[in-house]
């Protein structure tokens, strides 16, 4: 009996310890990054753990906010967030709604064609050549047009539309409503939770995406925020900041960490909304199509 008691105590202890440690690994970097971004040179360059800024200094942010490409990056990212999300929702609904109607021709084939795009892609080079042919290279539209066609989101939307009772739609049809009217007056108002979920998926994709920028855009004024920060953080392009007339330039570490904060701000602001809708969203996604 005594041995069993001991086991009952030790197992929860280990579970709590492991989980706390994991949470700590995620939380600590954010504290560290914030501290270094607000620290003067000596403190920022010190090795080891960082918790509270002892030598407060916001020079890194001043330098960063004077850098024009941070602002154009923010503008471009905002553009792709707004236009990209609206376009994604439009394309998703326009594909899913007809496919959810029982009288739509060739449904099975079309769904299979959608599925195929999820498991096979042409590859980097054919995609690049396509963008070139379409004159989308070095254009902001390359951020929003290709990503609007997302088969997974169409399937999620489709399974939601199918769950709307047919009787509701039939009743409207008998009352003389046309397809478009049914879509806007009945189907979409009922689908707001899944529209929000897909909209947020798209929003997060557009905040964090940089690959299309890296592959298709070389004009720096059209760079998205992620790519601007990528140059500072990963490619170590710090020369725009070292030429400043500032006598005591901020440490490169402070600059980098400030760029991390500036870049993650949109996601951190959205985080509470994301938490609320995403947990439900993954459940919708798990429904077998």
């Amino acid at each position: 009996m005594k041995a069993k008691k001991w086991q009952d105590l030790i197992a929860p202890f280990i579970i709590y310890l492991v989980l706390s440690l994991l949470a700590l690994i995620v939380v600590y970097p954010f504290i560290h990054v914030t501290e270094v971004s607000f620290s003067a040179r000596g403190e920022a360059l010190r090795s080891g753990f960082h918790f509270v800024p002892l030598d407060f200094e916001w020079g890194a942010y001043r330098e960063l906010l004077e850098y024009p490409f941070i602002w154009s990056g923010y503008a471009n990212t905002l553009f792709r967030m707004v236009v990209g999300t609206i376009l994604t929702l439009l394309v998703t609904v326009c594909a899913a709604y007809p496919l959810s109607r029982p009288d739509f021709p060739m449904k099975r084939v079309l769904v299979l064609l959608l599925l195929f795009t999820m498991i096979f892609d042409g590859g980097i080079v054919p995609n690049y050549l396509l963008m070139k042919e379409l004159h989308l290279l070095n254009s902001r539209w390359v951020y929003v047009l290709p990503s609007a066609a997302n088969a997974f989101q169409v399937l999620v939307m489709l399974s939601f539309f199918r769950s709307i009772p047919d009787a509701l739609i039939e009743a409207a049809r008998i009352d003389g409503a046309r397809d478009l009217r049914i879509l806007f007056r009945i189907v979409l108002p009922l689908s707001i939770p899944s529209l929000v979920t897909i909209g947020l998926w798209s929003l997060v994709h557009h905040i964090n995406a940089f690959m299309d920028n890296l592959l298709y855009v070389t004009d720096q004024s059209k760079f998205v925020l992620q790519q601007v920060v990528r140059q500072i953080l990963i490619e170590n392009k710090l020369d725009p900041f070292t030429t400043a007339t500032n006598l005591t330039p901020p440490a490169p570490e402070s600059l980098k960490m400030a760029s991390v904060i500036v870049c993650s701000l949109p996601v951190l602001v959205l985080y509470p909304f994301l938490l609320k809708y995403f947990e439900k969203g993954t459940m919708i996604g798990s429904v077998k199509g």
């Binding site: 069993k4 989980l19 007809p98 498991i119 042409g122 066609a149 169409v154 990963i234």
Partner: protein, 289 residues
């Protein structure tokens, strides 16, 4: 109908359009002649490919890395969900979940920048921790033998919490009476996890497994491209990073399109095979289609 046409155009251009460009893998692509006008060369690029030593290094790196991700990163969220399910305190559960979701929403640019920073031998925190145990700091990002471990570990950290949502939901769906009767029968915690919890979530695991193979071989491109540097090419250079570097930056379009096509075909076979296997094993109950 008009609605569908609108979406159809998007899918046709951006998902099926690149498939047309794939034919340059069988041609000698010259920019002035365009995709159609360039001369056919048959399988010449594929022959070159199989004779090139680079190809086997890329194939080995791609397969090994994805294999490690499959055996380490795939089960990690399942284990986290099982652990979370054992926690009695709702508050602690919620706290761990909310923190662990965060990295999922942070871009790979930020994640990679922080990984490089925290692993730095001079200012990095990891060097500090290693120092407590009397080990010398190492330049982890510049050592080819560490590269795969860093990729796998950071991939786990990023999607651990997020991936656990779906398993956690499946675990909450288990009938509590089953647990109670097991307790009455004298089953301990470990036996209950092994005999009730794990079998109950197996259908979800099977579906997630097939879905994870969908992006097999092309997954983690965003991550690898940010963490890779010339020193680690030997172990870290995968098909996608090579295609990007040699294809788009050195303009060897046809040759790299051939590698890309090879990768896409292998990926397609893998997912079809996995779906078939899962269906056979579960006697037609699981599987995506």
């Amino acid at each position: 109908m008009a609605l569908f046409l609108f979406s159809f155009v998007f899918f046709f251009i951006f998902k099926y359009g690149p498939l047309y460009g794939v034919i340059i893998a069988f041609k000698d692509f010259r920019v002035v002649d365009g995709i159609w006008g360039s001369p056919w060369v048959g399988l010449q690029h594929f022959q070159e490919l199989f004779q090139n030593g680079d190809f086997y290094r890329l194939l080995k790196n791609t397969l090994l890395l994805n294999f490690y991700l499959l055996i380490f990163a795939f089960p990690a969220p399942i284990i986290l969900a099982l652990l979370l399910n054992e926690v009695r305190s709702r508050f602690f559960q919620k706290f761990v979940q909310t923190t662990m979701y965060l990295p999922h929403f942070v871009s790979w640019v930020i994640m990679s920048g922080l990984i490089i920073y925290f692993l730095s031998p001079t200012t990095g925190v990891v060097a500090e921790i290693v120092g407590w145990f009397g080990a010398e700091p190492v330049f982890y990002m510049g050592k080819k033998e560490y590269f795969r471990s860093i990729i796998v570990a950071s991939a786990i950290l990023k999607d651990l919490g997020w991936g656990s949502i779906i398993y956690f939901a499946a675990l909450s769906g288990i009938n509590p009476e089953m647990q109670e009767s097991a307790i009455i029968d004298g089953a301990n915690r470990w036996q209950r996890i092994l005999r009730i919890n794990i079998p109950s979530i197996m259908p979800t695991v099977a579906i997630m497994f097939i879905l994870s193979l969908g992006g097999f071989l092309s997954a983690n491109f965003e991550q690898i491209i940010n963490l890779l540097n010339p020193v680690t090419y030997e172990t870290g250079d995968v098909i996608d990073t090579y295609v990007y570097r040699v294809g788009l930056q050195q303009f060897q379009y046809s040759y790299t399109a051939a590698i890309g096509l090879f990768k896409s075909l292998v990926g397609l076979l893998l997912i079809l095979g996995a779906n078939l296997t899962v269906r056979k094993l579960s006697r037609g109950e699981n599987g995506l289609w």
